[in-house]
Symmetry: C2
């Protein structure tokens, strides 16, 4: 039994499909949106239509942008021979916000997972090998998540790129900056201890 | 420094203003939306435009609907002499989902709060008294949250309606102290409604 008008019910139903929003928070969000109809709901409708029209996936690296190739792939000042490989676009954006990588990227679109039935052909690994082979890539930085699947994927890619004359590195594991030892899992502590450096 | 195209950045920025979504979950949501451009992003843009055009606040009770008077106020089968008074539209929707009230509603638009500087004139209390006086209302059910401000508001309304010959009741205690209606399950709401007591 609908509680409110069909256009509003439909908006609640669609919004509740977003990650992080259940039906309950979708209802709250919709009431908030209607309260701020002119300043939030109407602009959001326009922004969504704009994004639906303009958003595209970079045919080179897999980034999400409003141009193809994306701004990073099109930027001549970005080091073209260093590729940072990430699982998802969100990871690429996180690294960009941190400003820690001056080269280009390659988005896999996931990780290998026996459980979820994700194999090498389901990921952008073939296109990675092709870029490395054809574009004179010198270094590939594997920035997978520090999960079992992430590390399995990193190993697979290392094997796959063997013999192509490219240096392969991965992000260091260790104590997060600002992190407290007491809250870290044993694996992280072991990795941090193992990769300890002269002070 | 923007990480992606302006239309996408704008969408992230607007979405992060929704309750329950911070910048981080807004970025996740936007990536999800772009992944499901045809099935989610485009329909959501349309649904938001529709809602922005159609949504309105009922001039009688304060409910949010796509018609004014709202479907509840327009429904001749709803008992017209029993008013359930709620703080917010979300509470009205929660009671409707539970299906525990067969009368009409009145949305206050908040609660009295010395701290937040909310006085009687900031709430729809005058219009409540007017409805009671002019429309032959026999019972007013106070369904405020079981918070200090909610109960203060209930007391204020009871005083205000004194002498108008209306029975005033409140939801049974069963509503957890400090709890908010919108968080409760249907069974609890039904029990609280059934055991409502003279105020
Ligand atoms: Zn790109
Ligand atoms: Zn109404």
């Amino acid at each position: 039994m609908p509680v409110t008008g069909p256009e509003i019910e439909r908006l609640i139903q669609l919004l509740s499909k977003l990650p992080g929003l259940g039906p309950r928070s979708a209802r709250r969000a919709v009431l908030q949106l209607i309260k701020k109809k002119e300043t939030l709901l109407a602009p959001l409708a326009v922004a969504m239509a704009d994004a639906a029209e303009k958003a595209c996936i970079c045919s080179i690296c897999g980034n999400v942008d409003t141009q193809d190739p994306c701004a990073i792939c099109s930027d001549p000042t970005r080091e073209p021979t260093t590729l940072c490989v990430v699982e998802e676009v969100g990871d690429l954006w996180a690294l960009e916000r941190a400003g820690v990588h001056k080269g280009r990227y390659h988005v896999l679109g996931g990780v290998l997972s026996a459980l979820d039935g994700v194999g090498p052909n389901d990921l952008n690994i073939g296109s990675l090998a092709e870029r490395v082979e054809k574009n004179g890539i010198k270094e590939v930085i594997l920035a997978m998540n520090a999960t079992v699947d992430g590390q399995t994927t990193a190993h697979y890619i290392t094997d796959r790129l063997e013999g192509l004359g490219v240096t392969i590195s991965r992000l260091a594991h260790g104590v997060p900056v600002g992190g407290e030892l007491d809250y870290l899992d044993d694996g992280t502590l072991a990795a941090a201890m193992k990769s300890r450096r002269p002070f």
